[in-house]
């Protein structure tokens, strides 16, 4: 398991879900989160590495880090 410096306020387990499931799960959480919330999105869909940063850029939130785990990715996001 890879390490990260971020301690998420919210963790979304979207492993096993296919596009656009992980992104839509993230959008749903961002919608109800206060600014400054750190969210960990766990996704096994490689497409998330493209569509999540693209949406964050569009919506004005920050991608803090992407950590490769054994069989999924942890994407750390901070809301603005």
């Amino acid at each position: 398991m890879s390490e990260t410096e971020y301690d998420p306020d919210v963790t979304i387990d979207a492993r096993g879900s296919t596009c656009p499931g992980p992104l839509m799960d993230l959008i749903g959480k961002v919608k109800e989160a206060d600014p400054g919330t750190v969210i960990e999105l766990q996704t096994s869909d490689s497409g998330s590495k493209g569509d999540v940063p693209e949406w964050l850029d569009e919506a004005g939130h920050d991608l803090l880090e992407v950590v490769e785990q054994d069989d999924y990715w942890s994407m750390y996001v901070e809301t603005n």
């Binding site: 096993g16 879900s17 296919t18 596009c19 656009p20 499931g21 992104l23 839509m24 959008i27 749903g28 961002v30 919608k31 569509d51 693209e54 949406w55 569009e58 919506a59 004005g60």
Partner: protein, 380 residues
């Protein structure tokens, strides 16, 4: 001792399952070794794809329903009742007024619930065609709509019949052209992710069709608020769209019953995507929209899942090891206007090919909508 198979929900999944069981377990039902109880909240079975045609005056709301009793085999015990709670440890349902119903095997076909109130202003400012009242209201609104900006916004996913919003704007385009009004009506379609549809090949096809027909496409548009007074739709991404007529595909929810029963945290039943067995309880299946499987919330999915669950339940009853599995088979007819259509079919992990739209496929879709009642009877 009689074994009880309880089915909750008289939609496509529950109805097809009941009829398939009536056929597969005919000897056991007639000998009294098994009983199948179908609990449905209402006397009618509703075929929701009909509602797409209501706004354009091609179908009526009444065309979408038939009495459940006319569709379900006489060997099935139909209860017009409502399930208030599910106890999977004691294998017991609580019905309206607190009456219990014990089961040996349970299948949930609870469908999806529309929750327009989840988005501020949507219930007041928006229309939809996902239920009878909404479709009728939209029909009346469209009939008087002669100019302005029609915005169709897919507010959230997952939602029922994922192709229907694409179909709606393509049909609206053709419908306004037929009436000589298209130059006075601007049409915009919005979608939450970076393309026009969750499935890449359908998105590519829809984008090209929209461009050809002068339908605006807004992607990465997650509606945040509707301002009915000003006629403005706001998005999480900071965009604003002025509208004169808003068709908003409402957010969908699963069921609180599912959460309360510990079958999932989000209201869609967690199931094994191949066996359709609930992962959090024994002898519980889910099918149709309420089952959390990685394919569309579509009638064809419920239909094919029902065949698998029927085979598996029949095996359980006979003391055999169930072997039937669902591989994600999904078929969707997609209207591409008022007189042509295409269709897609796919399974888990595969991308559909979108065929060139044609009149015969449109006629096939209309024909299937009529013969659907044979599907509900378990015959087609």
């Amino acid at each position: 001792m009689t074994e009880t198979i309880a089915i909750v929900g008289g939609g496509t999944g529950g109805t097809v399952l009941a009829n398939r069981l009536a056929d597969e377990l005919k000897p056991e039902l007639e000998s009294g070794d098994v009983e199948v109880i179908l609990v449905s909240d209402g006397e009618d079975h509703v075929y929701k794809p009909t509602f797409l045609y209501v706004p354009f005056g091609k179908k009526t709301v009444d065309d979408a329903k038939r009495p459940l009793a006319d569709l379900v085999d006489r060997r099935i015990d139909i209860r017009n009742d409502r399930v208030e709670a599910i106890d999977t440890d004691d294998k017991r349902l609580t019905l309206r007024d607190g009456r219990p119903l014990r089961y040996d095997y349970l299948t949930l076909g609870l469908g999806a619930q529309l929750v327009p109130d989840e988005l501020d202003g949507l219930a007041e400012g928006g229309h939809h065609f996902y239920g009878p009242e909404g479709a009728q209201r939209l029909r009346d609104e469209l009939a008087d709509f002669t100019e302005g900006h029609l915005v169709l916004s897919v507010i959230g996913t997952p939602h029922m019949c994922p192709a229907a919003p694409v179909e709606f704007v393509l049909m609206a385009d053709a419908w306004f052209r037929e009436r000589g009004l298209r130059e006075d009506v601007e049409i915009t379609y919005t979608y939450p992710i970076q393309r026009a549809h969750a499935i890449q090949n359908i998105a590519d096809w829809a984008s090209a069709a929209f461009e050809e027909r002068d339908i605006n496409l807004e992607t990465f548009f997650n509606a945040d608020e509707v301002d009915p007074d000003e006629g403005v739709l706001h998005s999480m991404e900071g965009k604003e769209l002025d509208y004169d007529l808003l068709v908003g595909i409402p957010p969908h929810h699963g069921s609180d019953l599912v959460v309360d029963a510990g079958l999932s945290e989000d209201g869609w039943v967690d199931v094994d995507k191949h066996t359709l067995e609930a992962t959090e309880a024994e002898d519980v299946y889910a099918l149709g929209d309420i089952a959390d499987v990685p394919t569309s919330k579509a009638g064809s999915v419920a239909h094919y899942e029902a065949g698998v669950v029927a085979d598996r339940l029949a095996s359980h009853v006979r003391g055999e090891t169930p072997t039937a599995t669902y591989q994600g088979k999904t078929i969707c007819f997609i209207e591409a206007g008022m007189d042509e259509a295409t269709f897609v079919d796919f399974e888990y992990g595969t991308q559909p090919t979108v065929r060139k739209p044609s009149k015969p496929v449109h006629w096939a879709k209309l024909g299937y909508n009529e013969s659907y009642w044979l599907t509900a009877r378990g015959l087609l």
